[in-house]
Amino acid sequence: MEAAATAVVHPRYVELDVAEPRVTERHAAWLFAGTGVALFAVMGLAGLAMRLTQAEVLGLSPAWFYRVMTLHGAGMLAGALLAMMGALWYVVRQTVPLSMGRLLTSYVLIVVGAVAVVAATLVGGFAAGWTFLWPLPFHAAGQWSTWATGTFLVGLLLVGAGFFLFCLDVLMKTTETYGGLLRTLGVTYLRGRDDSPPPPQVLAATVVAIEGLEACAAGVMILVALISRMLDPKLTIDALWAKNFTYFFGHSVFNLIIYLAIGAVYVLVPRYAGRPWRTTKPIVVAWLFTLLFVMAAYSHHLYMDFVQPGGLQLMSTFASFGAAIPVGVVTAFTGLMLVWGSRFRWTLASSLVYLGFAGWVIGGTGAVLDSIIPFNFLFHNTLWVVAHFHTYLLLCVIFWELAFVAYLLEEAAGATASRAQTRLALGGMGIGGYGLVGMWYLSGVLGIPRRYAAHPTGTAGYSLAASIFVIVFALGFLVLLWAFAGLARTARARRYEHVEVTDTWSGGRWPVRRRLDEPGAATRPLPRVTEPLGVVFTGPTQLGLAVAAAVVSLAAFFPQVVEASETSTGYHHLDHAGQFLFGALVGAIVASLPRVAARLDRRTADLGIAAVIAVPVVMMLVMLPSLYGPVEDRPALHFLYHVGIAALGLIIGLGAGALGKVTGRIALVLGVSMAVMYAAGVGGG
């Protein structure tokens, strides 16, 4: 057993004293990774169908091409997100008591969302692209109906809600385990006041959770705005506002998939290098900059929208380039240092991890070039864009997703794939993958537009070459699956022992298979943490300031303010946001009172999570012009409507209060921000 284990890990690994995963973590990881790989395989076939159509080999009609294109993007998002959520959860739960129930709820939400997307695209014909850029979902050109639009939007809303829930649980538990946000982010360690910072995977998880909450809040807001527009055609949406929030959501979530994955990589590399990946000051600084840059970079999607404020364009230019520095100088660089001269244990899993680093930095280079505004002027929405994001999604994220599956199998089997299988699989996927993206880079240089069902005359050859590379990739992938199957068989055999049983009555003897305990089956208890930890407003000063803010926000109910706000729908929505703020502050104040806070526990935290997810959705939905329009001329009803908005605020305030100091504050700010931002872009009536 020991000898078999050293075949897949570095001999020095046992000296690193790393905790073995629990059985529940393995099962959860398998569920997420399995779903992710299955979605990747199906969506990859959809991608091949599109390339063959552009190569004029396959005859998908434009209607079907754009349906498949929409499905491919949304499906890959859901699959990669699921797989890397499971991987990060698996590695973080070694030290942080993440909730299995909340993880499974996230899984159900995302899978149901993915099924809705499949139904909307393949059955309903929805083909507005996974980016659902307003107002395209409502200009179907006769291709899809309203139900398809609604199903797609609700599907993505469920995906966003699932990821939001995952991020809430991660942030609550990491900050509770490590004693507050600053300590969990390593800031206390950076300032020399702490000599035992959290492991790097916890840093990664915390940053991803914060950014994920922000991104999902933006996503939920824009999706609810579009759903509201579907329910009420009188509602208007500002196109620039919609584009900003759509890309803030989409860009951020796709980026966060990489950062989810790196959390798992922090744990995988030491297994094969026999060197620990410890939290150092450069790693802390890198994650703090990542926290800043990933959110600030999204505006590069709007470089060619010249009406976008110049400050955002400038910020995005620096952030897009800047986001590459932590990767190039710290993460990838440290990974390389750990491998260098380590007598690295090359297995199927470790090879995929190593190749993933190359995909990340090469794809990142293509992205950085595209993020320079004069270059973007020449490359915007050409196939160069498709090239660079496939380099780091296909050749990094998917490689790491597969590396994680290989690791699980190698760990269970105590062996790795044969050298021939590894070479064939990685050779096929490497040559096929880089050939595919190479054709896209070349096509981008030629100026061929992206998202075309039929490419310009005379350029189908590039698509044909790319299709051949996809097939090479697919063959490599099949060899990989073959290797996986072999490892699974070995793992299964290891889980049983053959013993001879003697019948006590007849004296007969026969061999039977007996299932052995899984490695790590003697489950270690999870570390215990208080849930929730702390209250939103701590101490009399904060409570006093919150009461003062609540009193000021009462102004949103004053008849003069309400009347003045009715000069435009936007101002009136802003007034609603003020009422919502009032309720939210009151709720958070109540939840912060010592007597109330003493009653908060895990069950109230679950209710709090439900409140902070559902209430903003309800709050935005009740701002339909057809709902509040009729009550505006009836003062009593109008007042009651405003009280209702404040009541929703009260629920989110109480809900945020049940999530503890860090997560509660963030949830409260996000909930109120959604109300304010909604007012900035949604009008009508």
Binding site: P62, A63, Y66, A128, L133, P135, L136, H139, A140, A141, A239, L240, P282, M304, D305, F306, G310, Q313, T317, F318, F321, G322, A324, I325, V329, F333, L336, M337, W340, G341, R343, W346, Y354, F357, A358, V361, I362, T365, G366, L369, I372, I373, P374, F375, F377, L378, N381, T382, Y441, G444, L446, G447, P449, R450, R451, A453, A454, P456, G458, T459
Partner: protein
């Protein structure tokens, strides 16, 4: 439609290939050196020395490249810049008025959309993409350009806009 290698894009593409090959070379060297037995302290001593300089180089590159790029922004600024060409995009057509533009004289494209987002991608007579600007409903994006080469300039849509996105083409003519 004929497409040729546009000069700036080719230069950027070559720069990318050179950087990608260099990065790949680093990983190949890392792979070859992975089986050696080098004490971690030695790796860290050299690695940290390299990393400091690598960080300084990337920061300097950021400042220089982003700084220089700010002098070449495509965004129109100031008052009227020559003749105004009104561009409207719609599913699945372009309306360009006027359709004839004089060479060597500055023009300002005033680009908007009547329905969904579109992308106004301008290809010169040789098929090079010389730039693009988005057409967004409710907004007017202004792009200043001066054309030096007479001929027919083709417009392709560079923002996915629905069923006939790939067919949404138009052209204008630049004359002496």
């Amino acid at each position: 439609m004929r497409l040729h290698y546009g000069e700036p894009q080719v230069a950027i593409g070559i720069a990318f290939v050179v950087i990608a090959v260099l990065l790949a070379a680093v990983f190949v060297v890392g792979w070859r050196r992975s089986v050696a037995d080098v004490p971690l302290e030695r790796v860290q001593a050299v690695g940290y020395w390299v990393r400091k300089r690598w960080l300084a180089f990337l920061c300097a590159l950021l400042v220089v490249v982003v700084g220089l790029s700010l002098f070449r922004l495509p965004y129109a600024s100031g008052g009227t810049h020559g003749r105004v060409v009104t561009v409207k995009g719609g599913q699945f057509f372009w309306s360009i008025d006027p359709g004839r533009i004089r060479a060597d004289a500055p023009v300002r494209f005033d680009v908007t959309s009547v329905d969904v987002n579109h992308g106004f991608g301008i290809y010169d007579p040789a098929g090079h993409l010389i730039g693009s600007v988005q057409a967004m409903p409710g907004y007017h994006n202004k792009l200043d350009l001066t054309f030096h080469t007479p001929g027919v300039y083709r417009i392709l849509c560079l923002e996915y806009c629905g069923l006939a996105h790939h067919l949404m083409q138009a052209s204008f003519t630049v004359v002496r």
